[in-house]
Protein backbone atom coordinates (compact mmCIF):
# COMPACT_ATOMS: atom_id res chain seq x y z
CA UNK A 1 0.00 0.00 0.00
CA UNK A 2 1.41 3.43 -0.99
CA UNK A 3 0.85 6.87 0.44
CA UNK A 4 -2.74 8.18 0.43
CA UNK A 5 -3.61 11.40 -1.32
CA UNK A 6 -3.42 14.22 1.25
CA UNK A 7 -6.31 15.98 -0.44
CA UNK A 8 -9.05 13.32 -0.71
CA UNK A 9 -7.50 10.77 1.65
CA UNK A 10 -8.96 7.99 -0.50
CA UNK A 11 -6.92 7.28 -3.59
CA UNK A 12 -3.28 6.36 -3.74
CA UNK A 13 -0.99 9.34 -4.22
CA UNK A 14 0.91 9.16 -7.51
CA UNK A 15 2.03 12.81 -7.78
CA UNK A 16 4.75 13.77 -5.32
CA UNK A 17 5.92 17.37 -4.86
CA UNK A 18 8.78 18.81 -2.88
CA UNK A 19 8.38 22.54 -2.11
CA UNK A 20 11.29 24.50 -0.71
CA UNK A 21 10.05 26.88 1.98
CA UNK A 22 11.55 30.41 2.25
CA UNK A 23 13.46 29.10 5.26
CA UNK A 24 15.11 26.51 3.02
CA UNK A 25 13.11 23.71 4.64
CA UNK A 26 11.80 21.08 2.13
CA UNK A 27 8.09 20.17 2.46
CA UNK A 28 6.70 17.09 0.72
CA UNK A 29 3.14 16.93 -0.63
CA UNK A 30 1.32 13.89 -2.07
CA UNK A 31 -1.74 13.84 -4.38
CA UNK A 32 -3.74 11.38 -6.42
CA UNK A 33 -3.96 12.11 -10.16
CA UNK A 34 -7.41 13.70 -10.15
CA UNK A 35 -6.71 15.93 -7.13
CA UNK A 36 -3.38 16.99 -8.65
CA UNK A 37 -5.26 17.98 -11.80
CA UNK A 38 -7.96 19.91 -9.92
CA UNK A 39 -5.28 21.66 -7.86
CA UNK A 40 -3.74 22.74 -11.18
CA UNK A 41 -0.52 20.85 -10.50
CA UNK A 42 -0.77 18.53 -13.49
CA UNK A 43 -2.75 18.65 -16.73
CA UNK A 44 -5.42 16.04 -17.29
CA UNK A 45 -4.38 14.04 -20.33
CA UNK A 46 -7.00 14.26 -23.09
CA UNK A 47 -6.77 10.58 -23.74
CA UNK A 48 -5.51 7.73 -21.58
CA UNK A 49 -2.06 6.63 -22.66
CA UNK A 50 -3.13 3.05 -23.35
CA UNK A 51 -5.80 4.27 -25.79
CA UNK A 52 -3.30 6.49 -27.60
CA UNK A 53 -0.87 3.61 -27.88
CA UNK A 54 -3.55 1.30 -29.18
CA UNK A 55 -4.53 3.77 -31.89
CA UNK A 56 -0.90 4.22 -32.85
CA UNK A 57 -0.33 0.49 -33.16
CA UNK A 58 -3.46 0.09 -35.26
CA UNK A 59 -2.47 3.00 -37.53
CA UNK A 60 1.11 1.91 -38.08
CA UNK A 61 0.46 -0.96 -40.56
CA UNK A 62 -1.80 1.28 -42.70
CA UNK A 63 0.87 3.99 -42.82
CA UNK A 64 3.57 1.44 -43.56
CA UNK A 65 1.48 -0.11 -46.29
CA UNK A 66 0.80 3.27 -47.91
CA UNK A 67 4.47 4.21 -47.77
CA UNK A 68 5.36 0.98 -49.58
CA UNK A 69 2.89 1.45 -52.41
CA UNK A 70 5.03 1.61 -55.54
CA UNK A 71 4.44 2.89 -59.06
CA UNK A 72 5.01 0.07 -61.59
CA UNK A 73 6.14 2.57 -64.21
CA UNK A 74 8.87 4.58 -62.49
CA UNK A 75 9.43 2.50 -59.33
CA UNK A 76 9.00 5.34 -56.82
CA UNK A 77 7.23 4.43 -53.57
CA UNK A 78 4.72 6.72 -51.90
CA UNK A 79 7.11 6.96 -48.94
CA UNK A 80 9.91 8.20 -51.20
CA UNK A 81 7.58 10.80 -52.68
CA UNK A 82 6.64 11.99 -49.18
CA UNK A 83 10.31 12.29 -48.23
CA UNK A 84 11.36 14.36 -51.26
CA UNK A 85 8.10 16.10 -52.23
CA UNK A 86 8.51 15.24 -55.90
CA UNK A 87 6.74 12.55 -57.88
CA UNK A 88 8.57 10.13 -60.16
CA UNK A 89 6.41 10.15 -63.30
CA UNK A 90 3.01 11.37 -64.58
CA UNK A 91 1.49 7.92 -63.93
CA UNK A 92 2.02 8.40 -60.16
CA UNK A 93 -1.02 10.67 -60.17
CA UNK A 94 -3.08 7.59 -61.12
CA UNK A 95 -1.23 5.01 -59.01
CA UNK A 96 -1.31 7.14 -55.83
CA UNK A 97 -4.60 8.90 -56.57
CA UNK A 98 -6.32 7.96 -53.29
CA UNK A 99 -3.36 8.97 -51.16
CA UNK A 100 -2.61 12.10 -53.18
CA UNK A 101 -6.13 13.52 -53.30
CA UNK A 102 -6.22 14.83 -49.70
CA UNK A 103 -2.68 16.22 -50.03
CA UNK A 104 -3.53 18.01 -53.26
CA UNK A 105 -6.75 19.43 -51.83
CA UNK A 106 -4.87 20.82 -48.85
CA UNK A 107 -2.08 22.33 -50.96
CA UNK A 108 -4.54 23.71 -53.52
CA UNK A 109 -6.93 25.37 -51.08
CA UNK A 110 -9.66 22.83 -51.83
CA UNK A 111 -9.11 22.81 -55.60
CA UNK A 112 -9.52 19.32 -57.03
CA UNK A 113 -10.40 19.75 -60.71
CA UNK A 114 -8.57 21.50 -63.50
CA UNK A 115 -10.51 24.49 -64.83
CA UNK A 116 -7.78 26.03 -66.95
CA UNK A 117 -6.31 25.71 -70.37
CA UNK A 118 -6.38 22.40 -72.27
CA UNK A 119 -3.85 21.59 -74.97
CA UNK A 120 -5.15 22.81 -78.31
CA UNK A 121 -8.44 24.23 -76.98
CA UNK A 122 -9.49 27.80 -76.29
CA UNK A 123 -10.39 28.22 -72.62
CA UNK A 124 -13.99 29.45 -72.63
CA UNK A 125 -14.50 28.92 -68.92
CA UNK A 126 -11.60 31.18 -67.96
CA UNK A 127 -12.62 33.92 -70.34
CA UNK A 128 -16.21 33.87 -69.09
CA UNK A 129 -15.11 34.10 -65.44
CA UNK A 130 -12.98 37.12 -66.22
CA UNK A 131 -15.82 38.79 -68.11
CA UNK A 132 -18.17 38.15 -65.14
CA UNK A 133 -15.74 39.71 -62.67
CA UNK A 134 -15.26 42.75 -64.83
CA UNK A 135 -19.05 43.19 -65.18
CA UNK A 136 -19.49 42.79 -61.43
CA UNK A 137 -17.03 45.60 -60.84
CA UNK A 138 -18.75 47.83 -63.40
CA UNK A 139 -22.10 47.07 -61.79
CA UNK A 140 -20.80 48.11 -58.36
CA UNK A 141 -19.48 51.36 -59.83
CA UNK A 142 -22.75 52.04 -61.67
CA UNK A 143 -24.75 51.49 -58.48
CA UNK A 144 -22.56 53.75 -56.38
CA UNK A 145 -22.71 56.42 -59.12
CA UNK A 146 -26.51 55.96 -59.13
CA UNK A 147 -26.45 55.24 -62.88
CA UNK A 148 -29.37 52.89 -62.63
CA UNK A 149 -30.00 52.41 -66.34
CA UNK A 150 -26.43 51.21 -66.81
CA UNK A 151 -26.76 49.05 -63.71
CA UNK A 152 -29.88 47.34 -65.05
CA UNK A 153 -28.20 46.63 -68.37
CA UNK A 154 -25.10 45.25 -66.61
CA UNK A 155 -27.24 43.08 -64.34
CA UNK A 156 -29.01 41.53 -67.35
CA UNK A 157 -25.70 40.88 -69.08
CA UNK A 158 -24.36 39.23 -65.92
CA UNK A 159 -27.40 36.98 -65.63
CA UNK A 160 -27.02 35.80 -69.21
CA UNK A 161 -23.34 35.05 -68.73
CA UNK A 162 -23.93 33.20 -65.47
CA UNK A 163 -26.67 31.02 -66.93
CA UNK A 164 -24.41 30.15 -69.90
CA UNK A 165 -21.86 28.92 -67.36
CA UNK A 166 -24.36 26.51 -65.81
CA UNK A 167 -25.19 24.70 -69.03
Amino acid sequence: MGILCQCCNQANATVHLTDIQPSGEPVERHFCESCAASEGITMKPHEPVNLMLEKFVKMAPAVREAAQLTCPNCGISFGEFRAQGLLGCPQDYTEFRELLTPLIERAQDGGERHLGKRPGQPNEHGKRRVRIRSLERQLEEAVSAEAFEDAARLRDELETLRSEGKQ
Binding site: C74, L87, G111
Partner: protein, 352 residues
Protein backbone atom coordinates in the same frame (compact mmCIF):
# COMPACT_ATOMS: atom_id res chain seq x y z
CA UNK B 1 25.11 36.09 -78.35
CA UNK B 2 26.62 34.73 -75.12
CA UNK B 3 26.33 35.31 -71.37
CA UNK B 4 29.22 37.79 -71.65
CA UNK B 5 27.17 40.01 -73.97
CA UNK B 6 24.31 40.13 -71.48
CA UNK B 7 26.21 41.35 -68.46
CA UNK B 8 27.00 44.84 -69.78
CA UNK B 9 23.42 46.07 -70.11
CA UNK B 10 20.17 45.88 -68.20
CA UNK B 11 17.57 43.15 -68.75
CA UNK B 12 13.99 43.81 -69.70
CA UNK B 13 12.62 43.35 -66.20
CA UNK B 14 14.69 46.21 -64.76
CA UNK B 15 14.01 48.79 -67.45
CA UNK B 16 11.88 50.84 -65.08
CA UNK B 17 9.00 51.41 -67.51
CA UNK B 18 5.42 50.13 -67.80
CA UNK B 19 2.34 50.63 -65.62
CA UNK B 20 2.99 51.42 -61.93
CA UNK B 21 6.74 51.02 -62.48
CA UNK B 22 7.57 53.37 -59.58
CA UNK B 23 6.47 50.54 -57.26
CA UNK B 24 6.06 47.45 -59.47
CA UNK B 25 9.54 46.42 -60.58
CA UNK B 26 8.51 43.54 -62.80
CA UNK B 27 5.85 40.99 -63.71
CA UNK B 28 6.59 37.37 -64.48
CA UNK B 29 4.49 34.39 -65.56
CA UNK B 30 5.77 30.86 -65.74
CA UNK B 31 4.22 27.62 -66.96
CA UNK B 32 5.42 24.16 -65.95
CA UNK B 33 5.17 21.36 -68.53
CA UNK B 34 6.42 17.79 -68.85
CA UNK B 35 6.92 15.70 -71.95
CA UNK B 36 4.80 12.56 -72.33
CA UNK B 37 6.73 9.28 -72.22
CA UNK B 38 9.46 10.28 -69.77
CA UNK B 39 9.72 10.05 -65.98
CA UNK B 40 9.89 13.31 -64.00
CA UNK B 41 13.43 14.46 -63.35
CA UNK B 42 13.81 12.96 -59.87
CA UNK B 43 13.52 9.49 -61.47
CA UNK B 44 15.16 10.31 -64.80
CA UNK B 45 18.47 8.67 -65.72
CA UNK B 46 21.19 10.73 -67.37
CA UNK B 47 20.12 9.15 -70.69
CA UNK B 48 16.51 10.21 -70.06
CA UNK B 49 17.67 13.74 -69.35
CA UNK B 50 19.72 13.84 -72.55
CA UNK B 51 16.75 12.55 -74.51
CA UNK B 52 14.37 15.14 -72.97
CA UNK B 53 16.96 17.84 -73.63
CA UNK B 54 17.21 16.79 -77.26
CA UNK B 55 13.45 16.41 -77.80
CA UNK B 56 12.64 19.79 -76.31
CA UNK B 57 15.56 21.40 -78.12
CA UNK B 58 14.16 20.06 -81.42
CA UNK B 59 10.65 21.22 -80.53
CA UNK B 60 11.99 24.69 -79.78
CA UNK B 61 13.76 25.02 -83.10
CA UNK B 62 10.85 23.49 -85.07
CA UNK B 63 8.54 25.99 -83.38
CA UNK B 64 10.79 28.80 -84.55
CA UNK B 65 12.56 29.66 -81.31
CA UNK B 66 15.97 29.39 -82.93
CA UNK B 67 15.93 32.84 -84.48
CA UNK B 68 15.82 35.88 -82.22
CA UNK B 69 16.85 33.69 -79.30
CA UNK B 70 20.06 32.21 -78.01
CA UNK B 71 20.54 28.89 -76.27
CA UNK B 72 22.75 28.33 -73.22
CA UNK B 73 23.95 24.84 -72.30
CA UNK B 74 23.90 25.26 -68.50
CA UNK B 75 25.84 22.06 -67.85
CA UNK B 76 28.88 23.43 -69.66
CA UNK B 77 29.21 27.04 -68.56
CA UNK B 78 31.19 28.51 -65.65
CA UNK B 79 29.70 29.12 -62.20
CA UNK B 80 29.96 32.87 -62.70
CA UNK B 81 28.02 32.65 -65.97
CA UNK B 82 25.31 30.58 -64.25
CA UNK B 83 25.14 33.20 -61.52
CA UNK B 84 24.82 36.00 -64.10
CA UNK B 85 21.74 34.23 -65.50
CA UNK B 86 20.30 33.85 -61.99
CA UNK B 87 20.90 37.52 -61.17
CA UNK B 88 19.07 38.46 -64.39
CA UNK B 89 16.18 36.12 -63.43
CA UNK B 90 16.63 34.12 -66.65
CA UNK B 91 17.13 30.85 -64.78
CA UNK B 92 16.32 29.78 -61.22
CA UNK B 93 18.89 29.01 -58.55
CA UNK B 94 17.73 25.41 -58.65
CA UNK B 95 18.44 25.27 -62.38
CA UNK B 96 21.92 26.74 -61.89
CA UNK B 97 22.76 24.29 -59.11
CA UNK B 98 21.20 21.21 -60.77
CA UNK B 99 22.99 18.31 -62.38
CA UNK B 100 23.14 16.77 -65.82
CA UNK B 101 21.85 17.90 -69.21
CA UNK B 102 19.96 21.16 -68.91
CA UNK B 103 19.71 24.44 -70.74
CA UNK B 104 17.80 27.61 -71.37
CA UNK B 105 16.58 29.35 -74.51
CA UNK B 106 16.50 33.13 -74.04
CA UNK B 107 14.99 35.69 -76.40
CA UNK B 108 17.42 38.43 -77.50
CA UNK B 109 15.56 41.10 -75.52
CA UNK B 110 15.37 38.76 -72.49
CA UNK B 111 11.57 38.87 -72.34
CA UNK B 112 11.30 35.12 -72.30
CA UNK B 113 13.41 32.26 -70.98
CA UNK B 114 12.54 28.60 -71.56
CA UNK B 115 14.31 26.32 -69.09
CA UNK B 116 14.83 22.67 -69.99
CA UNK B 117 15.26 20.11 -67.19
CA UNK B 118 14.61 22.30 -64.20
CA UNK B 119 12.19 20.78 -61.61
CA UNK B 120 9.92 19.95 -64.56
CA UNK B 121 11.06 19.09 -68.07
CA UNK B 122 10.10 22.53 -69.30
CA UNK B 123 9.60 25.74 -67.38
CA UNK B 124 8.66 28.63 -69.62
CA UNK B 125 8.74 32.14 -68.28
CA UNK B 126 8.04 35.60 -69.62
CA UNK B 127 9.18 38.80 -67.94
CA UNK B 128 8.26 42.48 -68.24
CA UNK B 129 8.99 45.66 -66.42
CA UNK B 130 6.03 47.16 -64.50
CA UNK B 131 2.59 45.56 -64.13
CA UNK B 132 1.85 43.94 -67.52
CA UNK B 133 0.28 40.58 -66.77
CA UNK B 134 -2.31 40.52 -69.56
CA UNK B 135 0.22 40.95 -72.35
CA UNK B 136 2.49 38.42 -70.63
CA UNK B 137 -0.33 35.87 -70.56
CA UNK B 138 -0.95 36.35 -74.29
CA UNK B 139 2.74 35.94 -74.97
CA UNK B 140 3.31 32.80 -72.88
CA UNK B 141 0.02 31.30 -74.08
CA UNK B 142 1.28 31.59 -77.63
CA UNK B 143 4.67 30.08 -76.76
CA UNK B 144 2.87 27.19 -75.06
CA UNK B 145 0.62 26.63 -78.10
CA UNK B 146 3.52 26.71 -80.54
CA UNK B 147 5.41 24.11 -78.50
CA UNK B 148 2.33 21.93 -77.90
CA UNK B 149 2.00 21.65 -81.69
CA UNK B 150 5.49 20.09 -81.77
CA UNK B 151 5.58 17.92 -78.66
CA UNK B 152 2.98 16.31 -76.38
CA UNK B 153 2.76 17.49 -72.77
CA UNK B 154 1.58 15.27 -69.90
CA UNK B 155 -2.05 16.20 -69.26
CA UNK B 156 -4.94 14.63 -67.34
CA UNK B 157 -8.59 15.49 -67.91
CA UNK B 158 -9.30 16.00 -64.20
CA UNK B 159 -5.96 17.23 -62.92
CA UNK B 160 -4.75 19.26 -65.89
CA UNK B 161 -1.03 19.57 -66.62
CA UNK B 162 0.88 16.99 -64.58
CA UNK B 163 3.92 18.34 -62.74
CA UNK B 164 6.69 16.81 -60.65
CA UNK B 165 5.39 18.55 -57.54
CA UNK B 166 1.63 18.38 -56.86
CA UNK B 167 1.71 22.03 -55.74
CA UNK B 168 2.00 23.01 -59.44
CA UNK B 169 -0.51 20.57 -60.90
CA UNK B 170 -3.44 21.90 -62.97
CA UNK B 171 -2.47 25.10 -64.74
CA UNK B 172 1.24 24.82 -63.88
CA UNK B 173 1.00 28.59 -63.65
CA UNK B 174 2.91 30.87 -61.36
CA UNK B 175 2.35 34.60 -61.50
CA UNK B 176 5.01 36.62 -59.68
CA UNK B 177 5.07 40.35 -59.24
CA UNK B 178 8.14 42.06 -57.80
CA UNK B 179 7.32 45.09 -55.69
CA UNK B 180 9.53 47.75 -54.15
CA UNK B 181 7.94 48.68 -50.79
CA UNK B 182 10.40 50.85 -48.85
CA UNK B 183 7.81 53.23 -47.34
CA UNK B 184 5.75 50.39 -45.84
CA UNK B 185 8.99 49.07 -44.38
CA UNK B 186 9.87 52.46 -42.85
CA UNK B 187 6.39 52.98 -41.38
CA UNK B 188 6.40 49.43 -40.03
CA UNK B 189 3.19 48.45 -41.82
CA UNK B 190 4.84 45.91 -44.09
CA UNK B 191 4.20 42.97 -41.74
CA UNK B 192 0.48 43.64 -41.83
CA UNK B 193 0.45 43.69 -45.63
CA UNK B 194 2.50 40.49 -45.86
CA UNK B 195 0.25 38.73 -43.35
CA UNK B 196 -2.86 39.51 -45.35
CA UNK B 197 -1.10 38.35 -48.53
CA UNK B 198 -0.41 35.04 -46.81
CA UNK B 199 -4.04 34.79 -45.70
CA UNK B 200 -4.97 35.02 -49.38
CA UNK B 201 -2.83 31.93 -50.08
CA UNK B 202 -0.11 33.99 -51.72
CA UNK B 203 3.61 33.36 -51.32
CA UNK B 204 5.90 36.25 -50.44
CA UNK B 205 9.58 35.89 -51.27
CA UNK B 206 12.69 38.00 -51.65
CA UNK B 207 14.47 39.30 -54.74
CA UNK B 208 15.83 35.97 -55.93
CA UNK B 209 12.85 33.77 -55.16
CA UNK B 210 12.42 30.89 -52.79
CA UNK B 211 14.38 31.10 -49.55
CA UNK B 212 15.80 34.58 -50.14
CA UNK B 213 15.36 37.60 -47.89
CA UNK B 214 13.62 40.79 -48.85
CA UNK B 215 16.88 42.73 -49.18
CA UNK B 216 16.52 46.18 -50.70
CA UNK B 217 12.81 46.15 -49.73
CA UNK B 218 11.93 43.98 -52.73
CA UNK B 219 9.03 41.62 -52.25
CA UNK B 220 7.90 39.05 -54.78
CA UNK B 221 4.24 38.09 -54.50
CA UNK B 222 3.12 34.84 -56.17
CA UNK B 223 0.05 32.63 -56.34
CA UNK B 224 0.27 29.20 -54.75
CA UNK B 225 -2.99 27.67 -55.91
CA UNK B 226 -2.78 26.18 -59.41
CA UNK B 227 -5.77 23.81 -59.40
CA UNK B 228 -9.50 24.52 -59.39
CA UNK B 229 -9.10 27.96 -60.92
CA UNK B 230 -8.27 29.13 -64.44
CA UNK B 231 -5.18 31.00 -65.58
CA UNK B 232 -7.28 34.03 -66.46
CA UNK B 233 -8.84 34.17 -63.00
CA UNK B 234 -5.48 34.00 -61.26
CA UNK B 235 -4.08 36.73 -63.49
CA UNK B 236 -7.16 38.91 -63.20
CA UNK B 237 -7.06 38.75 -59.39
CA UNK B 238 -3.46 39.88 -59.47
CA UNK B 239 -3.82 42.72 -61.93
CA UNK B 240 -7.16 44.15 -60.77
CA UNK B 241 -7.14 43.32 -57.10
CA UNK B 242 -4.07 42.20 -55.20
CA UNK B 243 -1.34 44.33 -56.77
CA UNK B 244 -3.30 47.60 -57.07
CA UNK B 245 -4.22 47.26 -53.38
CA UNK B 246 -0.64 46.79 -52.21
CA UNK B 247 0.50 49.63 -54.49
CA UNK B 248 -2.15 51.83 -52.91
CA UNK B 249 -0.91 50.98 -49.38
CA UNK B 250 2.65 51.84 -50.41
CA UNK B 251 1.50 55.15 -51.91
CA UNK B 252 -0.40 56.01 -48.73
CA UNK B 253 2.68 55.22 -46.66
CA UNK B 254 4.77 57.44 -48.95
CA UNK B 255 2.28 60.28 -48.58
CA UNK B 256 2.24 59.91 -44.81
CA UNK B 257 6.04 60.04 -44.76
CA UNK B 258 6.24 63.17 -46.86
CA UNK B 259 3.54 64.92 -44.84
CA UNK B 260 4.59 63.95 -41.35
CA UNK B 261 8.28 63.05 -41.51
CA UNK B 262 9.64 64.84 -44.55
CA UNK B 263 12.97 65.80 -42.94
CA UNK B 264 13.63 62.25 -41.76
CA UNK B 265 12.68 60.99 -45.21
CA UNK B 266 15.05 63.36 -47.03
CA UNK B 267 17.70 62.53 -44.47
CA UNK B 268 17.45 58.82 -45.34
CA UNK B 269 17.62 59.55 -49.06
CA UNK B 270 20.58 61.92 -48.87
CA UNK B 271 22.49 59.79 -46.40
CA UNK B 272 22.07 56.87 -48.79
CA UNK B 273 23.39 59.00 -51.64
CA UNK B 274 26.29 60.25 -49.49
CA UNK B 275 27.41 56.75 -48.62
CA UNK B 276 26.90 55.29 -52.09
CA UNK B 277 28.94 58.00 -53.79
CA UNK B 278 31.73 58.12 -51.24
CA UNK B 279 32.30 54.72 -49.65
CA UNK B 280 35.48 52.79 -50.47
CA UNK B 281 34.15 49.29 -49.73
CA UNK B 282 30.51 48.22 -49.93
CA UNK B 283 29.00 44.81 -49.17
CA UNK B 284 26.15 43.82 -51.45
CA UNK B 285 23.46 43.82 -48.77
CA UNK B 286 24.19 47.33 -47.47
CA UNK B 287 24.37 48.58 -51.06
CA UNK B 288 20.87 47.21 -51.67
CA UNK B 289 19.69 48.86 -48.46
CA UNK B 290 20.95 52.31 -49.48
CA UNK B 291 19.94 51.95 -53.15
CA UNK B 292 16.44 51.19 -51.90
CA UNK B 293 16.27 54.51 -50.02
CA UNK B 294 17.69 56.33 -53.01
CA UNK B 295 15.11 54.72 -55.27
CA UNK B 296 12.38 55.87 -52.88
CA UNK B 297 13.70 59.44 -53.06
CA UNK B 298 13.82 59.36 -56.86
CA UNK B 299 10.35 57.89 -57.35
CA UNK B 300 8.86 60.40 -54.89
CA UNK B 301 10.45 63.27 -56.79
CA UNK B 302 12.61 64.28 -53.83
CA UNK B 303 15.90 63.52 -55.55
CA UNK B 304 16.40 64.45 -59.19
CA UNK B 305 20.05 63.71 -59.94
CA UNK B 306 19.23 60.19 -61.09
CA UNK B 307 16.37 58.38 -62.82
CA UNK B 308 14.63 55.10 -61.92
CA UNK B 309 16.14 53.25 -64.88
CA UNK B 310 19.68 54.04 -63.68
CA UNK B 311 18.96 52.92 -60.13
CA UNK B 312 17.38 49.69 -61.37
CA UNK B 313 20.53 49.10 -63.42
CA UNK B 314 22.73 49.69 -60.37
CA UNK B 315 20.73 47.08 -58.43
CA UNK B 316 21.70 44.54 -61.07
CA UNK B 317 25.29 45.55 -61.75
CA UNK B 318 26.35 45.46 -58.08
CA UNK B 319 25.36 41.77 -57.78
CA UNK B 320 28.41 39.52 -57.28
CA UNK B 321 28.49 37.78 -60.67
CA UNK B 322 27.77 40.94 -62.67
CA UNK B 323 30.49 42.77 -60.79
CA UNK B 324 32.97 40.03 -61.65
CA UNK B 325 31.95 40.15 -65.30
CA UNK B 326 32.48 43.93 -65.37
CA UNK B 327 35.90 43.45 -63.82
CA UNK B 328 36.81 40.64 -66.17
CA UNK B 329 37.79 38.08 -63.58
CA UNK B 330 37.05 36.24 -60.34
CA UNK B 331 37.10 38.42 -57.22
CA UNK B 332 37.21 37.50 -53.54
CA UNK B 333 34.52 38.87 -51.23
CA UNK B 334 36.75 41.71 -50.07
CA UNK B 335 37.84 42.57 -53.62
CA UNK B 336 34.18 42.62 -54.64
CA UNK B 337 33.34 45.14 -51.92
CA UNK B 338 36.08 47.45 -53.19
CA UNK B 339 35.11 46.94 -56.85
CA UNK B 340 31.48 47.62 -55.94
CA UNK B 341 32.32 50.90 -54.19
CA UNK B 342 34.53 51.95 -57.13
CA UNK B 343 31.77 51.16 -59.59
CA UNK B 344 29.19 53.10 -57.56
CA UNK B 345 31.45 56.17 -57.26
CA UNK B 346 32.04 56.08 -60.98
CA UNK B 347 28.35 55.74 -61.84
CA UNK B 348 27.19 58.35 -59.34
CA UNK B 349 29.56 60.85 -60.90
CA UNK B 350 31.82 61.62 -57.99
CA UNK B 351 35.51 61.68 -58.78
CA UNK B 352 36.75 61.92 -55.21
Amino acid sequence: MSVDDLAGHVGEWLRGTGPLSDIVISSRIRLARNVVGFPFLSRASEDDKKEIYRSLGDALSNAGFGSNSFFVDIENISDVDKQVLVERHLISRQHAEGEGSRGVSVSMNETHALMINEEDHLRMQVLRSGLQLDSLWNEIGEIDDRLAAEIEFAFDDDLGYLTACPTNVGTGLRVSVMLHLPALKITGEIEKVLRSAKDLKLAVRGLFGEGTDAIGDFYQISNQVTLGTSEEEIIETFSSDIIPKIVEYEREAREALSEQRSVQLDDKVWRAYGILENARAMASEETMFFLSHLRLGVSMGRFDQLDIGTINELFLQIQPAHLQKLNGGKLSGEQRSIARANYLRERLGNNN
